[in-house]
């Protein structure tokens, strides 16, 4: 690694596109990890965060058929499902009890061809009424675009309506890779990268915090990754609405694209470069359901400061050959973080420490 890059990071100077490419293409694995760790340490000290949360997939029926997705089904296809609001509430009831209740419900589903916009509003309302203290993290930009189309409302009005019924923040999914040529092969039916960014900008403008993601390890180039990070950084400069960035490792099983899993080395490298490039994003998340518990834990030494949550039930990654289990207990998360030499901090959806976490 050129010493100039080293000094740039240590002095807090922003990295350029060329710097980021050099980091990806270099072989200085340990220096890269150390630098990313240094930056994470400046932002969070020894803290590493986790949340007691739960996923909820209302349906897997989707009008988009992305080539990398093994979760979606067409209506009437074998394995297609759609939950009623009552079924959703039942799923949440177990997780909201006990000494460590869920702080966040993460709702992500397919683009259902028949569900009216009202159903989504009712869903949020019903969950919020039943669990007023639980944050609702729901609907990727792709779903928001779809909801705006079926409701006939502008993006801003769609988001405002959802926010009024209980939407607290948005997940960062659907970003995939912004590069149009790759996107065309990967998910031709999905909204463009620019549209994704526009929707996020609108959400941020309404005071809705979101995450951001990048799906890597399929058919994209290193340049595509760097450009993706640059576009996120540019938007973040204007809105400061991204809470966390989550690099998502591609899973090849049962998808049309096929191919291989990204390597553990690539996962850690991507984590570290993301930490270094996205100097204006507070948190870099090692999403254990995508990376596996093991690589996620090691990622805490490569710039990540968050392991996401207990999750409890996860279907999307699982469909594509998840390397991790479906849930992790709070104790396991505390143990993994502690063994990595970090201080486990239980957080809420907005990264406020939860009182009970210091035990």
């Amino acid at each position: 690694m050129p010493s100039s890059l080293h000094e740039k990071v240590l002095s807090g100077e922003r990295l350029t596109r060329e710097d980021a490419l050099a980091l990806f293409e270099g072989d200085d694995f340990f220096s890269l990890g150390r630098l990313a760790s240094f930056v994470a340490g400046m932002k969070h000290g020894a803290n590493a965060y986790f949340i007691v949360n739960r996923h909820l997939n209302p349906t897997n029926i989707c009008v988009n058929r992305c080539r990398f997705c093994a979760f979606s089904r067409s209506k009437g296809e074998e394995g297609a499902f759609e939950l009623t609001i009552d079924e959703m509430l039942t799923k949440l009831s177990e997780a909201s009890q006990g000494p460590h209740p869920v702080r966040e419900v993460h709702i992500v589903g397919g683009l259902h061809p028949d569900w009216p916009f009202d159903l989504y509003l009712h869903m949020l309302e019903a969950i919020k009424r039943a669990y007023p203290t639980v944050a609702l993290k729901a609907f990727t930009a792709v779903e928001i675009d779809y909801l705006s189309r079926i409701s006939g409302l502008a993006i801003g009005d769609t988001l405002q309506a959802l926010k009024e019924r209980g939407l607290d923040l948005m997940p960062g999914g659907g970003a995939e890779i912004f590069a149009p040529a790759v996107r065309e092969k990967l998910c031709p039916e999905k909204i463009s990268g620019q549209r994704w960014l526009d929707i996020m900008e609108t959400a941020h403008g309404l005071g809705i915090k979101t995450n951001a993601t990048m799906l890597y390890g399929h058919i994209e180039s290193v340049e595509d990754r760097v450009d993706h990070l640059m576009m996120l950084r540019e938007l973040q400069d204007r809105t400061a609405g991204f809470q966390a960035f989550i690099p998502l490792a591609y899973h090849p099983k049962n998808t049309e694209i096929g191919g291989f899993y990204s390597s553990g080395i690539d996962d850690l490298t991507t984590m570290a470069v993301s930490r270094l490039v996205l100097d204006n994003v507070d948190h870099i998340k090692a999403y254990w359901i995508m990376l596996g518990e093991k690589v996620s834990q090691v990622a805490l030494l490569f710039g990540a400061d968050d392991l996401d949550g207990t999750i409890i039930e996860e279907k999307i990654t699982r469909s594509a050959g998840a390397l991790a289990g479906e849930r992790m207990t709070r104790d396991e998360m505390i143990h993994l973080i502690g063994r990595a030499g970090k201080t486990p901090v239980e957080r809420d959806a907005f990264y406020n420490p939860v009182e009970s976490s210091k035990e």
């Binding site: 072989d27 694995f29 340990f30 990890g33 150390r34 760790s37 291989f260 899993y261 990204s262 390597s263 553990g264 080395i265 690539d266 996962d267 850690l268 990376l291 596996g292 518990e293 093991k294 690589v295 834990q297 090691v298 030494l301 390397l323 289990g325 143990h335 993994l336 063994r339 990595a340 030499g341």
Partner: protein, 381 residues
């Protein structure tokens, strides 16, 4: 590079910055294997029997004699497994089993002769507990037993059954298994008669960092005298379906309906071991994490300066962490494991093909190569 002493190793194991350790282990790996090749062997684990009188608390594979799930592999089945191995480009079978009270030396020599009459394949077989057990039951010396087996066709010996070479630990997790000195003795005799062996270490049970260092030290000391170890293979205890896992409550695949472990069974030795385990586990035992694994791996690479090869254990760590392990001191991916039963019985099953292995090595930035038992490269990919 100066040789690490035990005290320094202990310090590294207990507290050194993992990335710093990784960088050192990576540099040493590069020095020993500058060509950037990561090797693997195509072989199959054949477990000739699951009957075992040792009843180790960390094992989910064994069955008691007379259990409805007990088996001894028939020859036809053995042959078809070897045929399949050869057709997949295999060069070795790893032949291991429990300590079956009714199988005598004749069974073993007959088994080996039958295999060697029909096949040209390396038989990597019988870990020290099996060999020690045979010697004891037939009133032979270890050397006589080994010579008999070698004459019948045994080529090399796997390093299993080492667990942690500290009798304090062995008394707790495997009170009936041979002691540390016996394990070392079998390996030394094997090396003396020109057989090559591997060495393993199963950590993450009830040992302390000091026990791990002691284990590395006795292996290094023996290697100084014999040079017979081809590789060192550290891997972490997998708790599913094991007595140790059940006692600690860490097993994620516990099958309580399978009452294989009757609570109060066993002799005085086993009962006292059980008491000690419970005392230890109640103080908050948990399985080794990825960071623990990488730490042990790096210290192993740095400490064992006289063993050329360190294996990454994808079977216990998964392919992704095994790839990471290649930058933390490991230079070998072990076996393609056409069949593996023992770890799978403990609830861990990472099934991969040879293509997956080749691709995993390449994606981690190395040149994949198939090797034989003796680390001679057969084919590059």
């Amino acid at each position: 590079m100066e040789r690490l002493d035990k005290k320094t190793a202990l310090g590294l194991l207990k507290g050194a910055d993992l990335l710093g350790l990784g960088a050192m282990a990576d540099a040493m790996r590069k020095q020993l294997h500058p060509e950037g090749v990561v090797t693997f062997v195509v072989d199959r684990n054949i477990n000739y029997t699951n009957v075992c009188v040792n009843r180790c608390s960390f094992c989910a594979f064994y069955r008691e004699p007379g259990s409805p799930e007990a088996y001894v592999l028939g020859k036809d089945e053995l042959f078809s497994k070897i045929d399949e191995t050869l057709s997949l480009g295999g060069t070795q079978i790893l032949l291991q089993g429990g300590l079956h009270p009714d199988l005598g030396l004749d069974y073993y020599t007959d088994l080996l002769r039958t295999i060697k009459e029909r096949y040209r394949i390396n038989v990597h077989g019988f870990s020290p507990p099996e060999i020690w057990n045979l010697a004891e039951r037939h009133n032979l010396t270890v050397r006589e037993t080994l010579c008999t087996l070698r004459e019948a066709g045994l080529d090399s010996i796997p390093g299993g059954g080492a667990e942690i070479l500290s009798d304090r630990v062995r008394k707790v997790i495997s009170p009936k298994k041979i002691r540390s000195v016996a394990w070392l003795r079998v390996m030394e005799e094997a090396h003396r008669i020109g057989m090559r062996t591997t060495a393993t270490m199963m950590f993450g049970s009830v040992e302390t960092p000091k026990d791990i260092v002691e284990h590395l030290a006795v292996i290094r000391e023996l290697q100084d005298r014999t040079g017979g170890f081809t590789a060192f293979i550290p891997w972490s205890f997998q708790s599913g379906n094991t007595e140790l896992g059940r006692e600690s409550g860490v097993g994620s695949h516990e099958s309580s309906e399978k009452s294989r472990f009757s609570q109060e069974a066993g002799d005085g030795k086993e009962q006292s071991a059980r008491t000690t385990r419970r005392a230890h586990l109640s103080s908050g035992f948990r399985a080794a994490t990825a960071v623990d694994y990488l730490r042990v791996l790096t210290v192993s690479r740095l400490f064992l300066d006289n063993i050329a090869n360190i294996q990454a254990s994808w079977v216990t760590q998964g392919l992704k962490l095994a790839q990471v392990a290649l930058r933390f001191g490991a230079n070998d991916f072990g076996s393609t494991m056409i069949e593996e039963n023992v770890v799978r019985a403990a609830g861990v099953s990472y099934r991969v093909s040879m293509d997956d292995i080749i691709n995993a090595i390449r994606a981690a930035g190395f040149r994949p190569a198939q090797r034989d038992t003796y680390y001679t490269i057969l084919k590059e990919f």
